[in-house]
């Protein structure tokens, strides 16, 4: 995000972007996706990948993006593996790593950690997920994937699953509010969108419709965004399985859906999408995951050039 009066550019929250900044970045990613980019654009640059939480897709796609642009990556894979295990603060870790790299990608369990990192870093910081907070690179690749199939403006998008703790759902809902999207939500009781977020979306003029079941809304949707209902949110495994099964997306469920409906999921999925759906033209979640590379390439170029 280019901030006025600030020399170092960071990408911390999708809320820092306006509509034109998002569109510009997605346009750039689209060019990269068509193989139109300088393969040595980041030659000699080093990306520090600081992941204090598990990740496969986000971490690997950032490293892949950096390599495709001619740069290299150095990494820390857990708190146990670095000086934070000795009690070092994140602030100090960031100050030190700033001296080793040209940009930092960080994932951290505490909300606001990336914002803190940006305050102490002397190089650009990209937030790759902070607790239940923000995950802007995921949101950008979600938007990119939608844009591959349709114009985002004015669509009906459904969010299904754990909408209370799911950071991808929060970020995406905020971004979609910039495009006049009508939002439909379906979530287990207690896992609805946080009231503060709903208030904020409503203030931006977003129309939000809450549904009890996926069946009652699926035929109206252009995009169905599924998130994982996490087992640890439930008191026992029986109640988890009962809830999880009622939010499962199957080919039968989509029988009456619009032909152009796309189903997205930030992955990893567990039981929430029937594997039989993978071959359906509606299924775009693996394409979505693949799109992480061009989008993250555009982000790296945005902050490092």
């Amino acid at each position: 995000m280019h901030r006025e009066g600030q020399v170092t550019h960071h990408i911390i929250s999708i809320g820092d972007f306006d509509r034109s900044a998002i569109d510009r970045l997605l346009d750039h990613a689209e060019q990269i996706g068509k193989n139109r980019y300088d393969k040595n654009a980041l030659d000699g640059k080093i990306l520090a990948v600081l992941f204090f939480e598990p990740s496969t897709r986000t971490r690997m796609s950032f490293e892949s993006a950096m390599a495709r642009l001619g740069g290299s990556s150095i990494s820390v894979s857990s708190v146990e593996a670095c000086s934070m295990a000795k009690g070092e603060t994140l602030a100090d870790t960031i100050r030190v790593v700033s001296g080793y790299a040209d940009a930092i990608v960080i994932r951290h369990p505490k909300e606001g950690a990336a914002r803190l990192a940006a305050e102490f870093a002397t190089v650009p910081v990209i937030n790759a997920g902070d607790g239940a907070g923000q995950h802007p690179s995921q949101t950008l690749l979600d938007l990119y994937t939608i844009r591959q199939s349709m114009k985002i403006d004015g669509i009906d998008a459904g969010l299904v699953g754990d909408l209370r703790y799911g950071r991808t759902a929060h970020s995406l809902a905020s971004a979609l509010s910039l495009y006049g999207v009508r939002l439909h939500t379906v979530s287990p009781p207690g896992l609805e969108l946080p009231p503060a977020l709903v208030r904020s979306l409503a203030e931006k003029g977003m129309e939000i419709v809450v549904h009890d079941t996926i069946e009652e809304v699926v035929k109206d949707l252009d995009v169905l965004y599924v998130t994982r209902v996490q087992r640890e949110r439930f008191p026992d495994s029986t109640s988890y399985f009962n809830v999880a099964s009622s939010y499962r997306i199957t080919p039968e469920l989509l029988a009456g859906a619009k032909k152009h409906l796309i189903v997205l999921h930030p992955l990893p999925r567990v039981d929430e999408i029937d594997p039989r759906l993978d071959a359906s033209p509606h299924a775009r979640y693996f394409e979505q995951s693949k799109n992480g590379v061009p989008v993250r390439m555009a982000m790296l170029l945005d902050v490092m050039r």
């Binding site: 603060t89 950690a113 305050e119 923000q134 503060a196």
Partner: protein, 164 residues
């Protein structure tokens, strides 16, 4: 010394009878009724204090219905303290007393940014760790609440319990 004075005068002028005039210090007037003890908390007075302190609660007021008043000797408030008082009592007025005279009188103003005075309600927020940072909140439009600038958590009620 601390007096909790039950107030039963019928007008604003009568309140001067409630507590003794102070030579030097601050009188915080027009505090929302019932908030005086929270103002004391904001001033960091949670136990004993060497200074003379007087508190009048639920004093009848023509303008406000009921109001509280706090007088504290030999102390003038910092801007941060005034800002915090504004959060819980936006109509409060601060009177600086020097040699028994009101030398300065000012209202309080709700600041746009609160730094280091409010604890984030989100236990998962980075400000609730040992990191070398102060909490930062922006005041929502019309003072409807506070938003943490680190984790986006919003405080809309029971703000007093989050004041550090």
């Amino acid at each position: 010394m601390r007096h909790i004075v039950p107030a039963d005068t019928g007008d604003d002028e009568g309140e001067s009878l409630l507590v003794r005039r102070i030579k030097n210090g601050t009188v915080i007037d027009h505090i929302d009724g019932g908030e005086a003890l929270n103002v004391i908390k904001i001033l960091g007075i949670v136990g004993t204090t060497a200074e003379a302190l007087s508190i009048a609660t639920n004093v009848p007021s023509r303008e406000m219905g009921k109001k509280d008043i706090v007088k504290i000797s030999n102390r003038e408030l910092s801007k941060e303290e005034v800002d915090r008082i504004a959060l819980i009592s936006p109509k409060a007025t601060i009177n600086i007393i020097r040699n028994f005279k009101v030398c300065e009188k000012q209202g309080v103003e709700i600041p746009t940014l609160i730094i280091g005075s409010v604890r984030c309600p989100n236990p998962g927020c980075i400000t609730r760790t040992n990191e070398p940072i102060k909490s930062r909140f922006e005041v929502l439009p019309d003072g409807k609440g506070l938003r943490c600038l680190y984790c986006d958590s919003v405080i809309t009620k029971d703000l007093t319990s989050y004041i550090i």
